[in-house]
């Protein structure tokens, strides 16, 4: 297409044509953007996965305490029914259970509080990491808009990037937190608590951690990205950080 013919097309009719970015191309650009800024992405991801690892570990120790209490309660019932011949260790466990009813409740409260704190720390960590990664790219966003990118297209690129980074980091974060706590419990409590209840709790927590991590990353990225995309390109290009 010659320059001349293109120029002739540009009139009112020509303006109607649309700017589009196919999804495959958008994914390619977004992934490339993560890959090329590898170390930067790792640091951003660290903000997410450490938060999620902390969240997971706190929740997981809570789950372990609950499972352990259930195991001991089951033993107590079995002893009462006469179906289990208690060892001295079992008796010690059952005694500690009945003695510390109030303390158990207090421990539960502490754990709940810790779990909320973990979530807040996680939110701040993720927001901080993602906010920074969008802010340092205002100029890039402005440039893309000069080249004909629509607001939605810019947001789409960040959406893909955030979903990918958020999902992957959350999974890694979960595995980290889960493995560390499980290992500690394995050493301190032995195999007793690693039953069906443990695996069920693990899977549930995996779901929760991934959803929390991905959604938080998503929100922390999309809001500043939308703000940047809606700026006039001149303003986005002017931003200094």
């Amino acid at each position: 297409m010659s320059a001349e013919s293109n120029r002739a097309e540009i009139g009112r009719a020509g303006m109607r044509r649309q700017i589009k970015l196919p999804m495959t191309k958008a994914i390619e650009i977004a992934l490339k953007s993560i890959k090329i800024r590898f170390w930067r992405s790792i640091i951003t991801a660290a903000g997410i996965f450490l938060g999620i690892a902390f969240f997971t570990s706190v929740r997981m120790s809570g789950e372990f305490s609950a499972i352990q209490r259930k195991v001991i309660e089951a033993k107590r019932d079995a002893i009462a029914a006469g179906t289990l011949k208690p060892t001295p260790e079992d008796i010690r466990q059952v005694n500690s259970l009945s003695a510390d009813k109030a303390e158990t409740q207090a421990a539960e409260m502490r754990l709940k509080w810790l779990s909320i704190m973990a979530l807040i720390v996680c939110t701040v960590g993720i927001t901080n990491a993602m906010l920074m990664s969008v802010t340092e790219r205002y100029k890039e966003i402005g440039t893309m808009k000069c080249l004909g990118a629509l607001d939605g297209l810019v947001v789409k690129l960040f959406f893909i990037e955030a979903s990918f980074l958020g999902f992957l980091s959350s999974v890694v974060g979960f595995v980290l937190g889960w493995a560390v706590i499980s290992l500690i419990r394995l050493i301190t409590d032995g195999l007793e608590v690693f039953g069906a209840a443990y695996w069920l709790a693990s899977v549930q927590l995996l779901g929760l951690s991934v959803v929390v991590g991905t959604v938080l990353t998503f929100i922390a990225t999309i809001l500043p990205a939308i703000r940047a995309a809606q700026m006039p390109p001149a303003a986005a290009l002017r931003v200094e950080i």
């Binding site: 297409m1 303006m15 700017i19 440039t143 080249l147 390109p233």
Partner: protein, 249 residues
């Protein structure tokens, strides 16, 4: 002069910035007509409103008053989709700071606008290689901006601005970050594109080297056009100066 010979027209263009309780008029009633195929330089000291005019003509910022017509279309009437189309197809931008996407290679930077324009990857890459050859960077297709010198980065930016055959190239201080010789090369390249491809070039600058190649020079002062000089008038003036120089001997 027939109206369709204008590629850009501005009418009573005003841009105000509010700083605290003060209102600053960066543009204060600018009327400028640019002919097709012209090489025009907007000259003026920093803070004179050059860049503001550049942003208004390029649709990068909304003016506070007045209108900008690109190919007889009032830019204020365009919706976001149409404005994006205009930026993609009709106008190519060159900046003082190059503004290449740092994570992309030279070729990917040049290809990006063709992706937005819906061109297939193969066609886009072919076009990108052709353009990088045109600006003399055929050997550096896969270099990142950080691996290129300032002059080379600006060449990539020029190739990128041409990606979708624009009718206008807007250049904001294109030589501002370059040394004397590299700046000259870039100016020559722009002039060559102007001459060979017939693309209109509007350049905001305070680089006097630009005077040599410009068809017209628009002097801006305090948000207003102070004077517009034709190329031939400048030739005469330079001639006069040379003549006086000889007279002194």
């Amino acid at each position: 002069m027939r109206a369709n010979e204008y590629v850009v027209r501005t009418k009573d263009l005003v841009k105000e910035y509010t700083m605290g309780d003060q209102t600053l008029k960066a543009l204060n009633g600018v009327n400028l007509d640019v002919y097709k195929g012209e090489y025009i330089s907007i000259m003026g000291p920093s803070g004179s409103g050059k860049s503001t005019l550049f942003n208004a003509i390029g649709g990068l910022d909304k003016p506070s008053g007045g209108s900008v017509f690109i190919n007889d279309v009032d830019m204020a009437q365009l919706d976001a989709q149409e404005l994006a189309y205009l930026r993609c197809h009709t106008i190519g931008y060159i900046f003082q700071t190059f503004n290449l996407i740092p994570v992309m290679t030279a070729l990917e930077n040049v290809t990006l606008p063709t992706v937005f324009a819906g061109m297939s990857t193969d066609d886009g890459v072919e076009r990108g290689i052709e353009l990088l050859n045109l600006v003399g960077l055929g050997e550096r297709l896969h270099h990142k901006p950080s691996e290129l010198s300032g002059g080379q980065q600006q060449r990539v930016a020029i190739a990128r601005s041409l990606a979708n055959n624009p009718s206008i190239i807007l250049a904001d201080e294109p030589t501002g970050n370059l040394d004397l010789n590299t700046g000259k090369e870039i100016i020559e390249l722009l002039k060559r594109l102007n001459r060979d491809q017939g693309v209109t070039i509007i350049s905001a600058t305070h680089d006097l080297k630009m005077l040599d190649v410009s068809d017209r020079i628009v002097w801006i002062r305090d948000g207003k056009i102070a004077k517009i000089e034709e190329r031939k008038d400048i030739d005469i003036r330079i001639g006069e100066m040379e003549g006086q120089g000889e007279g002194l001997h």
